[in-house]
Symmetry: C2
Subunit: 209 residues, 2 copies
């Protein structure tokens, strides 16, 4: 293995260990010592890559933002549904995402609105496109609806996490869409939108289609 | 002042000081020393009333639950709207409520699902009554809708808190109802439900009617 490949692997080990610690203990409760214990690396290796706890948290947020890819479906509202269904599924399988969500939701000395902004812009963009294409009822305000949807998603994942460790989150997000779609979408399009709870897992290749 | 009246006043001083510390610093960040500094009381006075930080947090949660009174409106869906609008308004004026919300939302060594359960039971009860009285579309599942509404509320107040210190929360909750009502309520009742953002303030006597 080249020196560069080793460096990449070390950096990834630090980030993975840090994600599991942040997810479990929150920003305040996390120490670089605990990250070192879980990664099995030396303090020198950690400080070669990061200046400290905040820099590691920033790197996780950035990693998460880079992973936000808008689904490419011709019906833009379906693309938004797919974004939320995949996000719900990834919250169950991706420790980096869970860590960033905890860092974002909790008010503490680590504060960044970045995660909220990125998701809000993505939702607003898809809804504006859906409105232009005549998928939505003309009364819909894309920015207001994007805020509302993000509110439902954020709240649902907190409640689902508290109730059963997010086991029922895909069902909850599917239920959110079943309840909201009649107020949003043109009636003729309603039966075409797929909100099956398994959709996120199928799109991510975690469940067979 | 009698000894008993003094004791009641001391207990209240401790709880008010503790609420402001919990709201600002979260459960982990709060110390009894900081509570004593803000209340101006002695450590002996504090330990006369409470065994420690956890007991004070428990007392705040209990205080908050006792304050949860179901609004008494003949249209049960309006009573539920009023519950959410007053709650939104109180989150801006009541430090005890804000403290309990932060204790409930954040995962930490202080964990109680009590606040979620109380609000969920209240919402489910009002929705079941609304369904029985024919106010809702027959497709509505009261428990599922109660979970969804609590999710929207929880998420909206977190986002509104992050964006502008909850200044726009009543507008956000009003927007939630405007978006959700067409999927929930019988069409004939729709124009009768009042979702004005000022409604919570008026009902609490904070704004003139």
């Amino acid at each position: 293995m080249t020196q560069q490949a080793r460096a990449v692997r070390t950096r990834r080990s630090i980030l993975e260990a840090a994600a599991s610690v942040f997810e479990e203990l929150g920003y305040e409760g996390t120490s670089t010592t605990e990250i070192l214990t879980r990664s099995g690396l030396t303090r020198g290796a950690l400080y070669h890559h990061f200046s400290g706890k905040r820099a590691i948290a920033d790197a996780l947020v950035q990693l998460q933002e880079e992973a936000l890819v808008l689904p490419d479906h011709p019906v833009r509202l379906q693309a938004l549904v797919d974004l939320t269904m995949m996000y719900a599924e990834r919250l169950r399988s991706d420790v980096v995402l869970r860590a960033v969500v905890r860092l974002t939701v909790e008010r503490g000395s680590y504060q960044t609105g970045a995660n909220y902004r990125g998701a809000m812009v993505a939702a607003s963009t898809l809804l504006s496109q859906a409105l232009e294409r005549g998928e939505l009822l003309p009364t819909v305000d894309p920015d207001e609806l994007a805020f509302l949807l993000q509110g439902v998603f954020t709240g649902s994942q907190i409640l689902s996490q508290a109730a059963n460790g997010r086991a029922d989150l895909p069902q909850r997000i599917s239920g959110m869409w079943r309840m909201m779609l009649p107020s949003i979408v043109r009636p003729r399009l309603l039966p075409e939108i797929d909100i099956d709870p398994d959709r996120g897992g199928k799109l991510l290749g975690l469940l067979s289609p």
